[in-house]
Amino acid sequence: MVNISKKIASVEFDLLSPKEIRDMSAVKVITPDTYDEDGFPIENGLMDPRLGVIDPGLVCKTCGKKVPECPGHFGHIDLAMPVVHVGYVKVLRNMLRSTCRKCGRILLSKAQVDHFEKRMATLIKEGKNIKPLITNIVKTASQADVCPHCGEHSGKIDIDKPTTFRYDDHKLTQADVREWLEKVPAMDLKYFNFDENIRPEWMILTVLPVPPVTTRPSITLPTGERSEDDLTHKLVDIIRLNQRLQENRDAGAPQLIVEDLWELLQYHITTYFDNQTAGIPPARHRSGRALKTLAQRLKGKEGRFRSNLSGKRVNFSARTVVSPDPNISMTEVGVPVEIARELTVPVKVTAQNIEWAKEMVKRGPEPIPPHGVFYQAGVNYVIRSDSRRLRVTDKSKNEVAERVEPGFTIERQLEEGDVVLFNRQPSLHRMSMMAHTIRIMPGKTFRINLVVCPPYNADFDGDEMNMHVLQSEEARAEAHTIMKTQEHILSPRFGGPVIGAIHDHITGGFIFTHGDYSFDKAETLFILSRIGYTGELPEPKGKGGRWTGKQIFSTILPKDLNLEFKSEICEKCDKCTKEHCANDAYVVIKDGEVLSGTIDEKAIGAFKGVILDRIVKDYGNDMARQFLDDATRLCIGAITLRGFTTSISDEDIPDEAKAQIRKLLDDAVDNVNKYVEAYNKGELEQMPGRSLEETLEINIMRVLGRSRDGAGKIAGKYLGIDNSAVMMAKSGARGSMLNLSQMAGCIGQQAIRGERIHRGYQNRTLPHFKKGDVGAEAKGFVKSCYKSGLTATEYFFHSAGGREGLVDTAVRTSRSGYMQRRLINALADLKVDEDRTVKDTAGTVIQFAYGDDSVDPTKSERGKAINIEAAIKEILGKAKVEELVEMQKKEEDVDLMRSIQDDISTEDVEKEEIEVEEE
């Protein structure tokens, strides 16, 4: 075959002339019907066989070809009266406004013509866009009152909703418009960006092309009934009306009737092009459903462009519900047998693998695995060298296997270890689609490890995910090297881990390592067996010959890891006692041994995990994967042994605490009343820059806010760290102390738009209160806690506050979604060059250095190029750091000092993390 490469020099869009429409037409369509009683297409009807074939086997009457080869052929309808094409209404308006009604010339003076002509010539010479100039020309010409060529008055052109033009308030018929445009000379067309060979009057249709049947195929329903395409329905209407209009006109019917019919024909042709034209009701089916006409086929999310061209349905993919499995690796995905048997990987048969291939084919599509084996891959199809497909069935498998020879391809079912792509919508991230290796499992769900939940944003309340099976070696290699989950532990957004422990993993880690929690030999062996530990059992370090959790956890740390950080449970005391912390909240890891501190969210959690972060950056992705798999298994082992549960009784507080809280809240309400009294007496001291009312509100809000915090503190005092709910909140596993204090202590002030609730009846929120009451209860303060339950008015205020939250999130997600879509479209094709400049596809520089500092955030230390403190510590040892900092202070090397301080203060990092969590 000869390969001819052609280059498209230019593309031009223009109008079809009536002659062209007639010339390309295979049939003049006259009859508004499709099939006769016997089911044969009617001659000169909308299904005329000369318009193309849709039934396989039939031969086209126009081109003589069969179904896939015959492209279909256009027909035409001769319209009794001219009709406006809706798509050109704007162009028509411009043209009518800027040309003369009498002589058809453009309404520009000689001087204006000269000026514009010169501008146009230069723009064309420079290869620039002339559209803005065209806009200017039209604008200038339509401002003329008198024709500079014949002196005729130039009237005002208006449009009556979709397609009717008015000239100085007289209606212009479609025929009038057509006549007008016929007068516009070819030499003036360039001012409208028209080629001189195109006639503007073609925008008023006199002939309507009828699209081939292939574009509007009829469907035969299972009942044997025929159902026609929406376009065919519309064309039937058009032909019927066209006929009636012609008959009435020829019979000399009254002008009014003819005009009505004409208007109706215009309506049908307008909706045939676009059934969502503003100003007219959309044409509907008998069922009431709006018809899907030409524009609807192309427009919008479900249109040809966004649904069929930008995105398509794919083969070799599967979708099902996801469920958790903490025992598989984070790079694995559990695939149900049913899916594994349906999806295939093509394997080329060669002289080297022919024996294997024959064996595989002999297994057939439903192999019975040998004893003790759960699943064995079979073969669904064999593709011969001439690309004919042979279906492999239980009956044909032996016969087909005999015929297999080098050059064939077998489509093998999925096997354990195959690389697949796994995805959860909305795919907002690079990490929303990652490569996993598969594990075939019983059941009907995809199984995933919990540490990959954060990047996919998946939970198990019915979430479904998609799997794509790679079909070529290149794709598999690429996915394997750059898309595996461990390649995405670090986020390119903030340079920290997005994959990490969550929920029970963190609680497990906390239980495991907090204080001197220890295990006996059997327990230690049980936990270590979960990671397949094969080394020597270390000497027990705990009391009574027991193994401490810290010690067991240390077995999975690299032997040369040195790290110090504060745990999530750190109380942020004024003076940190470091390794002597009473809360065991200061982690010290020396030579891979946890000496002090608790392993919680701050150590291994997604987004925050410091150990995790260190291991990915210093030991690589594979080590990090191993660490995460092991750490989560150990944590689950520990939590399994101890047992862990939480219930509403975790929020029980003793009666004395309840009394204290009640007292505190009553005092606060009294306090509020005092402020109100002072305000009423005019004794309230006004705050600078605030009105008296604002001052009162601020004071009340402050008093009530403090009382809520106070109630939380009292409740917190009675909820110790051995309480399961507190354990989860403090270690960062789930929930917060605020949640707990709202359950046990007091819910607090409900707000709408940041203010106390004040809407409702006149001068009061509810009829339960006196008019003008501005006290705590009357304006949405909820004294109760969730556990005790709310009073009726509190419940009402709580619902009002809660509704605002719901509306906010609903509005925010839709808006930020669209904003992100626009951002992505705008930035999609920017690229970082070899010299780190950022360029667009035209090669224009957007940034001379990526991010100004050329730092890839994925490889950065939380956004910065290096972590100076850690680097110095590593090289000089800890004692020297302080010495160095002293020295720097003396030398007043502001720059280095600033960067060291930046790195030591974790403030900004924490701010970022809050943002991350909110997502």
């Binding site: 501008r119 723009l123 866009n129 803005p132 200017n136 010299d835 224009t844 940034q847 991010g851």
Partner: protein, 86 residues
């Protein structure tokens, strides 16, 4: 009262017209064609203020939250059609 000049405003970074040779050096360093540079329109208040002429390269030095100070370059360009006609 001294006349207001945008260049003196604290939010306007430092603009500096590069001599032709310097400009050429920049283009060579980044292996760029003049057309690939971002534009600074000739009627931009800063361009008028520093008296830039079409075809010249302006060096802009500004502060950056990531890199401290950052240097970028822009090409003084004539307006596009849409702005010419009123």
């Amino acid at each position: 009262m001294a006349e207001f000049n945008v260049v003196n405003h604290e939010l306007v970074p430092q603009h500096e017209i590069l001599p032709e040779a310097e400009g050429k050096k920049v283009m060579d360093k980044f292996k760029l064609d003049q057309k690939q540079l971002p534009y600074l329109l000739i009627h931009d208040p800063v361009a008028t203020s520093i008296g830039a002429k079409p075809g010249q390269i302006v060096k802009i030095t500004r502060e950056s939250p990531t890199a401290g100070t950052v240097v970028t370059y822009r090409l003084i360009a004539v307006m596009a059609e849409s702005e010419t006609e009123e």
